[in-house]
């Protein structure tokens, strides 16, 4: 891997971030109404039109669009995400309060989804009977068709109310995450498992598997030593893409379980048209997406020897 490739990739990542910022900026400005009106035109506050105009001026809400755009970009570049009109606190403070919950939920959810996917795929390849194999292989279709909110409610019903395994009130720091993580992991694991099952079946037909069998390697040895890595490699790309679904899934999951994360923050910001908060969340999600794909791309040459450029080695 050359440093030129690396610079290229980072350049692309920055371009994507800029595009996400610009598009979300335009969309948010195009929305009718804004957060300031929603908050301060409330008749209960009894503000005069003059006072509202002053507040608008203090937020620079009526300056020309391109000036606002340049100002916003400048602020973002210096790490200043602006003020939440609704909450009256800096957006960065609001994010700092909500991000850890979502980060923990997403990371654990993704790990569990990977475990589910690998378990489903390898169990189905190890299954000796055709009926068992097709039963295991139909799990992903079931998983992907279950609505997240329904699954969350069912898990609470069963584990909290019937079996009383996970307390609903005052759960411990890990108990609190147990059910949300499962809820989030189930739909994410489905496409991963499907791709993995396909890849394993595909790799099993390759000639090098027959060669390994001809060496006297047993089925399990072939599966773990020869098939596993070859089948997992193409799954990495899908895993990167699925991160987007993770964010979307987190919004619903946090609402169902009453977790105070980015999902809840997004929901409230949409309700109050809190543009600054939404803008920051969009850029943050885009950044997370870009970083994950960058990591996946940089990981490939390390895991797959065929992608390492090694001049002069071929003879």
């Amino acid at each position: 891997m050359t440093s030129r490739y690396l610079l290229n990739r980072i350049g692309q990542a920055l371009l994507v971030l800029w595009a996400a910022f610009t598009v979300s900026f335009i969309l948010l400005q195009a929305m009718p109404g804004d957060a300031i009106r929603i908050k301060f035109q409330n008749p209960e506050l009894g503000l005069t039109p003059q006072q509202i105009a002053d507040i608008r001026a203090s937020y620079a809400a009526d300056s020309p669009l391109w000036l606002q755009y340049i100002g916003a970009i400048g602020n973002f570049l210096t790490g200043n995400f602006g003020y939440s009109v609704h909450a009256g606190v800096p957006v960065s403070a609001s994010l700092a309060a909500h991000l850890p919950v979502t980060l923990k939920l997403a990371t654990l959810g993704f790990l569990l989804a990977s475990i589910f996917a690998v378990a489903i795929a390898f169990l189905s390849s190890l299954a000796r009977f055709a009926w068992l194999r097709s039963a295991i292989q139909s799990i992903p279709s079931l998983f992907v068709s279950v609505p997240t909110f329904w699954l969350g409610i069912m898990l609470i019903q069963i584990f909290s109310f019937r079996l009383k395994l996970v307390p609903v009130i005052n759960p411990g720091p890990w108990q609190e995450f147990l059910l949300p993580v499962i809820t989030l992991a189930v739909p994410i694991s489905a496409p991963l498992a499907q791709v993995l099952v396909r890849n394993i079946d595909d790799v099993l037909t390759r000639p090098f598997v027959a060669v390994a069998r001809a060496k006297g390697a047993a089925r399990n040895r072939v599966l773990w030593r020869h098939v596993a890595k070859n089948a997992l490699l193409p799954t990495l790309t899908i895993a990167g893409v699925l991160f987007g679904e993770l964010i979307a899934g987190a919004v619903v999951t946090e609402t169902v379980f009453g977790l105070n994360g980015i999902g809840g923050l997004t929901e409230r910001a949409v309700g109050t048209q809190d543009a600054a908060v939404l803008q920051a969340i969009v850029v943050l999600s885009a950044a997370a997406f870009v970083i994950i794909s960058l990591i996946v791309d940089l990981l490939y040459p390390i895991l797959d020897p065929r992608l390492r450029t090694n001049p002069g080695a071929a003879a």
């Binding site: 060669v211 390994a212 006297g216």
Partner: protein, 550 residues
Amino acid sequence: MTVLTDPRVPVLEVSDLAISYHDGAHYHEVVHGVSFRVEPGEVVALVGESGSGKTTTAQSIIGLLAANGRVDRGTIRLNGTDISRWSDKQLDTIRGARISLVPQDPGSSLNPVKTIGAQVGEILAIHGKLRGKDRERQVVTLLERVGLSEPELRARQFPHELSGGMRQRVLIAIAIALKPQLIIADEPTSALDVTVQKRILDLIDELRREFSTAVLLVTHDLGIAADRADRVVVLQGGHVQEEGRAIDVLASPRSAYTRQLIANAPSLARLVTRMPATARPPVGAAAAEDIVVVEQLVQEFPRPGLREAPLRAVDNVSFRVRRGTTHAIVGESGSGKTTTIRAVVGFQKPTSGRIRVDGRELAALNGEALRQFRRRIQLVYQNPSASLDPRQTIFDIIEEPLLNFGAVTRPERRERVMSILSRVGLPEATALRRPHAFSGGQRQRVAIARALILEPQVVVLDEAVSALDVTVQARILDLLDELQQDLALTYLFVSHDLAVVRQIADTVSVLRGGRLVDEGPVAQVFERPGSDYTRELINAIPGRTHPAFA
């Protein structure tokens, strides 16, 4: 589970073996009561075309039938012990140790993400032979034994860093690691260039003598069987047609099928079957008769680094082809033959040099003119299954070029497609079927029909018969010959196989490493090769040295 060695007992004795495959609804028998034996240290060739059951038989011996296959009856005795009903667990103890496999395609037969050393070492590990440093040393010894240079370096490399021939040597190292009594070599060289092919077969020969290992050589090429086997078993449609000493079977074949196979094998053809030149357009006519003229063609490709010199794939190649004749471009992989023809059909602009086809300077053509030029020169590719769109019907595939080139009315298109179909020997009823319903030979006929529908002057055949069985190959070559005479076509025939070239071409250019090393009329090049390389290519043709054909 041990199998005792007894010199009086054959290493392998297959009797009345029947195998069937499940197609989703029923079992269909594909091997019907095959019997043969392999004595210790002997080489037996299992010869047949695709579908003859030779690979299925070989797979069943080592217990590697596809999941939908099963042995219905018969026995497979290894040193007298019937292993045909053994479980995978039992077979694991003898696979690699007593029987081993040299597979068909070295390109995909090594795990791409493991080092060569790990893959050779694995067979020692599975059978509990040697540990740690001793095992590593043994791996290096084995790699050295199969003729790989710098074995320590190879052991640390990955498969993609080795050439096809080197990979096949690695696979042979794995196969001989535990000195088995029987090696099953399943088309071990059909994916390799001829000169590499010869070296690999020599290596197998040498090693089996050294370890007195018996070899079951599965091949479609009677020439290879003639060269390498003590005895030959000819299979057709799952039945043994003929069995006997290689020398006897080839000199006086008893079955009609074997006679047919011998007649079709280009490597065994004693005489050039080409029509005498007198029946063709006169030789040595004016330069105006040259329909394809390539002068000092150079093709360079930039390399990734900025400072590195570009890769010169074709280096100063010139040749001329007279109208109505066949010119062959011969070379191994990396010789620049494909790059040369890509330039001739106008797929890429040459770095320098001139190309003239049917009186047009290729360099002067651009855009629409270049598109119109493609009517005059058409391509037929090597792999007929990959070059036909599986979703189109045969009619659509052949009709498409007509739609691309101007106004031809629907009834006229239909008429032309139907007439070209019968021209290439396919019945009209096939027009509405899709490529998957056809055999390899039939698909290649479709590809030829598609190339001919525009009535081109020149047809470029890029390894067009290399993927076909000898019998099918012979029929396609006959068809090409017939079409050439009727339609006054000019062929540019690209091949790595000199034996086929001898049958079809009038003139030949031999390329090596992008340079022209030999050229001239085919008979002259064969009788008085102009370079050591051409001589090496000719010597590598299997079957030549066999006493029955000397």
